[in-house]
């Protein structure tokens, strides 16, 4: 009976999700338009939609599963997520408008064709696209497995994991192939409403239900679980500990805050904006969403008392154990929907970004796809999603291992993407050598089990090597032979005056159905 109620609630919302995603195209010519319409919503989203979309894509199923699991296992260290998102979205105030205006001026749709444009080498865009795809695929798998675990739990075990994985893939592909970034933004509205409502409710309900309120709950935490309340968290100190100390927190937050502003999915959100000011306002409101991330940590800590002894991957279910234990079936269903949408929205944007990168920067190098980039991108979305699904069934550990280097690997693109856009002297050889060294160092450290290395995030160590090599090679070699003026190659933060001018000049020539290429 419980299973039927919760699963029905879930099913109704999944149908609504696909419908909402497809409805997003109403009034936009029903799926017509070029790659820019699909990939970056025709660069037309206002401040509200940008906020909803970026909140939607940034807060993945990790918020419901991993964050509670970390809270349960370690405690305070999980707050690095709050810290890096706040720091990163704050510098997005400068970087967002900069990337937005650069992409708009040159008709670009992502970081791969920004790199190709900056260095005047289309094949470099293809290399970056392949590399970024390797780093992004594991995230799609994480979302698929995340939603699988949620659905199987809230259906009280009646829906098998394998079916749940397939459903995650089907629902997401169901709308993103057709309606692209705009569809993801619309689905994000439903997601954000449910996430805010369910996490807000749980934050009030769980301490009351299990502990007679916050006073008693906090008392017990402080007296019995003090380990969890500071860095390095529970089981952290000494050799063989988790290694999640102050230095780890500082280095990880610093690195991730820089990386999140050039992360391909964040950039997709930036480029979808109608104007630069929508992004500046967003940089102001978006960090406030982080307050919600304290809730799963608190619930993970509460679960320490209610369901002690969860081990390994089971700890990720800390939050759902409380939910299933204390709430009626329909409420379990609704919270399951919120968690599932936290998988679906980010997964949609991950797939969209992979499709965009391949359609624009890889397949476009082949003459037969050059004029059909959007179609190529849509095909790649299905292929990438199917690949992630297939690997989830057949070789789940491959992607789990890859996911260890995802964020730290993506960070190695910082000099080539961000530094290159503000510093003309950086040569192609410098940026490329740095990238190769950075990725090699990340792989070497992570796969040899040395992350963190000496308490410091391995990705930051790799980035330092990356930057050192990039600078050394740049200064040792000659300047790039590129006759284009600085204004054509570099990015800058647009002022309002420039913005108006750009609108007059560029709006009529904005990339239409036949996107111009680099």
């Amino acid at each position: 009976m419980n299973a039927a109620v919760a699963t029905s609630v879930f099913g109704v919302f999944m149908v609504a999700t696909v419908a909402l995603g497809l409805l997003a195209l109403r009034g936009r010519g029903g799926g017509g338009g070029g790659l820019a319409e699909w990939s970056v919503g025709g660069r037309s989203l206002g401040p509200v939609f940008i906020w909803v979309l970026m909140a939607g894509e940034g807060y993945t199923s990790f918020s419901y599963l991993g964050a509670a699991g970390w809270g349960y296992n370690y405690g305070a260290p999980v707050l690095y997520v709050v810290a890096y998102m706040s720091c990163g979205y704050a510098i997005g105030y400068v970087v967002g408008p900069m990337l937005w205006s650069y992409a708009r001026r040159h008709g670009l749709v992502g970081i791969t064709d920004m790199v190709a444009h900056r260095f005047g080498r289309p094949w470099l865009g293809a290399v970056v696209a392949v590399l970024a795809t390797v780093f992004l695929l594991p995230y799609i798998q994480l979302q698929i497995t995340g939603m699988g675990v949620v659905l199987s739990t809230i259906s009280y075990g009646t829906v098998s994991l394998n079916w749940a994985y397939f459903l995650a893939f089907a629902v997401t592909t169901g709308f993103v192939v057709v309606s692209g970034l705009r569809g993801s933004a619309w689905v994000s509205v439903l997601k954000d409403v449910l996430v805010i409502a369910t996490l807000g409710f749980l934050a009030l309900y769980v301490p009351l239900h299990y502990f007679d309120g916050y006073g008693a709950f906090l008392d017990r935490l402080v007296t019995e679980k003090a380990d969890w309340l500071t860095f390095p968290g529970h089981g952290g100190g000494g050799s063989g500990g988790s290694g999640l100390g102050e230095l780890w927190f500082i280095s990880t937050t610093f690195l991730n805050a820089l990386t999140v502003v050039i992360f391909p999915t964040t950039v997709a959100g930036y480029l979808g904006a109608r104007n630069a000011d929508a992004l500046r306002r967003n940089a102001m409101y978006l960090p406030a969403y982080n307050v919600l991330l304290f809730v799963p940590m608190l619930l993970g800590l509460a679960a320490l008392f209610v369901v002690p002894g969860l081990a390994g991957a089971e700890s990720n279910l800390a939050l759902f154990k409380l939910v299933v234990d204390s709430l009626p079936a329909w409420a379990v269903g609704v919270i399951g929907v919120a968690a599932a949408l936290s998988s679906i929205v980010p997964m949609a944007v991950f797939m969209l970004v992979i499709g965009t990168m391949w359609g624009r920067s890889v397949l476009s190098l082949l003459p037969r796809f050059a004029e059909r980039q959007k179609t190529a991108a849509q095909v790649v979305v299905v292929v990438a999603g199917s690949l992630a699904l297939l690997l989830t069934y057949t070789a789940p550990n491959t992607l789990v291992r890859l996911s260890l280097i995802s964020y730290e690997g993506m960070a190695q693109l910082l000099p080539m993407v961000l530094l290159a856009l503000v510093w003309r002297r950086l040569t192609f050889r410098g940026a490329f050598s740095g990238l190769v060294v950075g990725v090699a160092v990340v792989c070497a450290l992570v796969f040899s089990g040395n992350d963190p290395v000496g308490g410091v995030n391995a990705g930051l160590v790799a980035l330092a090597a990356n930057l050192a090599v990039a600078l050394a090679v740049t200064f040792a070699g000659g300047r790039d032979a590129d006759p284009r003026p600085d204004a054509e190659v570099l990015a800058h933060d647009p002022t309002d005056e420039e913005e108006k001018k750009e609108k007059e000049v560029l709006l009529p020539a904005d990339p239409g159905p036949s996107d111009h290429r680099v």
Binding site: A76, L79, V82, A83, S86, C87, Y89, A90, I91, Y93, V94, M98, Y214, G215, L218, D219, L221, V222, A226, L229, T230, F231, E246, F249, I250, T253, F254, A257, R280, R281, A283, M284, Y285, P287, A288, N290, V291, F294, V422, W423, L490, H492, D493, P494, T495, D496, E497, E498
Partner: protein, 76 residues
């Protein structure tokens, strides 16, 4: 880079979250004093999370109030 900061010193507000979350972490990494029963580290990090939007707002306010001629964007 320095030129940008000279033209738009308000961008320094964006460093506030870095100071609050990272710079002073060794000083605030403690359970006591409790604030209304909440461990101090959590109070601090929650405060930092609430102050980050304020810091960005201060930058934007200064950008909007800057005299027209001086509102050149940051060409680094």
């Amino acid at each position: 880079m320095l030129g940008v900061i000279r033209r738009r010193p308000q961008l320094l507000w964006l460093l506030v979250p870095y100071v609050l979350y990272l710079g002073v972490l060794p000083l605030v990494n403690r359970v006591t004093p409790l604030v209304l029963g909440v461990p101090f580290l959590f109070v601090w990090l929650l405060g930092a999370t609430l102050l980050t939007p304020v810091a960005v707002w201060l930058t934007r306010r200064a950008d909007r109030n800057a005299p027209r001629g001086r509102r050149r964007g940051g060409r680094a």
